[in-house]
Amino acid sequence: MKMMKSKVTIGAIAAVSIGIAGASIAGVAGTDATVSVKAMADALHLVMDSDRTVYTKTIVNRLVKKEKVIKATEHFEDDKSLALPAQMFRFGSEMAMKRAEKLDDVNFSYTLQSLWPINKQNAPKTDAEKAGLKFVAENKGKNYYTTETLAGQKYFTAVYADTGVAPVCVSCHNKHPDTPKKDFKLGDVMGGVVIRIPIES
C-alpha cells in the first residue's frame, strides 16, 4: 500500500511536471532551438555595426561634415558637442554588459580595438586579439574566430574588421593629436570589433 501510494505520488508529480513543461514549451514555441556561438557573434556584430553606421551617417557626418552646425568631440559634455561614434559604440557596450548582469542566460562582451589606437588601452592585449586584429587587417572581408582562456574561463572570441566607412572616421583618426597613424584612407581597415562569448571548457 505504501509502495502504491508513493507510486501514485510520483506519477502525479511527473504528470504535473510534464504538464508545466508542455505548457511552457507551448507558450514559447521554438525556444529550444539552438544557435551556434559563431552565428550569435555574427548577429551581434551585424546589429552593433549597423547602429553605429546609422549614427555616423545620419547624425555625425550629416551635422558635422555636411551641415557644419556642430562639432563632434571626445569631451562632448564639456564642449556641448556630439559624442564620437566610437564613444557611442563603447557606451552601448558598457550598458549592454551592465544590463546582461541581470540576465542569467545572457553573457557576452565586446570592445573596439585597433593596432593604431588613439587611446593606448584600446590596443590588442591578449594573443587572440593580437592575432585577430592582424588577420582582419591583412585579409579584407574575412572575420577571425578562435577560442581563448582568460582567468580560467574559456571564451569563443570573434574579431571583425572595422572599416573607415565615412570621411569623418578617417579625418578624425588622421588628425587626432594622439594618433599613431595619420594616413588612413576611406575604406581602410582602421581596427576591429572583438566579441567574446563564454563557453564551457
Partner: protein, 475 residues
Amino acid sequence: MAVKNNRIYWIVWLLLSSLLGAWLAHAMLNENADKQIFMPGELSPGHHQLADACGACHIDAFGGGEVLQRACVDCHGEDRVKPFDSHPAKKFKDPRNADLLASIDALQCIGCHEEHKPEITAKDGLTQPLDLCFHCHQEIAEDRPSHQGMGFDTCKDSGCHNYHNNRALYTDFLIKHLDEDPLLDQGVLPSKEFASLLEEIIEYPREEYPVVRLDEDDIDASERRAFDQDISTEWLETAHARSGVNCSACHMQARDKAQEPSWNDHPDHTVCENCHSVEVSRFFKGKHGMRLQQGLSPMTPDQAVLPMKQEARHTSLTCTSCHGSHRFDVKKAAVEACLECHDDKHSLAYEASPHYRLWQQELLAKAETGTGVSCASCHMPRVSRDVSEWMSRIVVDHNQSANLSPNSKMIRSSCLHCHGLEYSLSALADQSLIENNFSGAPAGQQVQSMQLAKKESIRRQEEASDDEDADMFGF
C-alpha cells in the same frame, strides 16, 4: 566530591556564558547601546559618525565582500559612474582586463578603501600604497615621454591625477584653460533653478498648493493655535509665501500614507523632502546628514573630528538648524549657520578674507547677485545635477563633503567660476593659504601638470594642419 565541584564549575560557566551572550545581544540589537565591543578597529574619518550603525555597511549578516560592496554603492554609487569616475567598475568587468584585477581588485571598493584599519589608512581613506598606479600604468613613460623619471608615488600630487574624479585635470581641459588670469572678468556664480522649473519637478504638490502669492489672510494654521505674529511676518518674507506654500504644507502632513494628516509643531526633513527631495538626498550623503539617513540621532558638533565651538556642541543638525524655521533664510544658512559651529583656522579666518568682503558687498546690494563668496559658494556649490534619467537642473549640493577629498574636485564646481585654472590649482595646493581662507595669492611653485599641458599645446600647434577637418573635432 570531584563530580560535585565539576558541576559547580559547569553551572558558573553556563551562567557567565549566558550573561555574556545576553550582554552582547543587548549591545548588538539595542540601537542606543555602545557597540565599541564589536569594533575591530577605528573607523576612517569618512565614516566615523556611523560607529553606532554597524548595519549601515554590514547590511546583511550573511555573505562576504559582495555585501559590503553593495553598501558602498548604495551611498557612493552615483559618483562612481562616468563622467565623474575615470576608473568605473565597468572598465574592469571586461574579461580582457582580468589580469589587471590580479594586482588590484578594482571591482571592490575595499580593494583600496579598507575600513577599521587606521594604521594603514592615508588621506582620502586610501589603504593602498601611494604608488598603486604602477600596477596598471607601468609603461606610461613609453606612451607619454613627458612622464619619464616621475615616481609612481607622485601621480596623486595636487594638480596631476585623481583615481576617481579627474574632471578638472585631464589634458584637454588643462589646455583649454591655459594662460587664464588669476581673477576672471565678470566672475559670477550660477543661479539655482527651482522656482523657474517648478512645472518640471514631478514631486511638487502643485495641485494641493498652487503656485500663487499668499498673504496674511490666507494663513491656514488652525485657529485653535496661539499664533505668533513674528512667525507670520517671517513666513511672509519667504519664497514659500510667494509660492503658495501655506502653513499646512509643512505642519499638516501625515507621517505615512495610511494615516490621516495631523498638525505637527516641529516638522522634520521628511516634510522638506516633499518638495526638496534632491537637497535632502544630498544632505544625507554628507557628514551633516549621514546619521539621519541611517535612522540614527542627528549629527551634533561634539561628534565631529574637526574643531567645533563649545557652545554649539549639542546642536542637532537637521534642515532647520541651518535654515531656521519659517524664515528659511538661505543667506544665513550660507555663512552664519556654518560659523555657529565650525571653529577651525580656515573657518575662523573667513570673515577677514576677500571672499567675505565680496559676500558683504552682495548682501548690501552694492554688488551683483552671485558675486559674493559665502562658505556655501565653495562647500555647497550650485551644480547641475541629473534629477531624473532625462532632466538636470542647477541645485545647491547639500553634500558638503562631495568636493573636498581631494580638494581639486572643488575646481569645477566652485573656483573656476571666478578664477583661472592654474591659479586655482596652486591655491588649493597651498596649505597656508587654505588656513588663512585664501587671503592672498598662492606662493607655491608652478603647477607641473600645467607646464606639461603648455608643452603639449605647443606640440599640437606645431603638428596641426590648418584645415576644417581638424576643427570639426575640436583639435
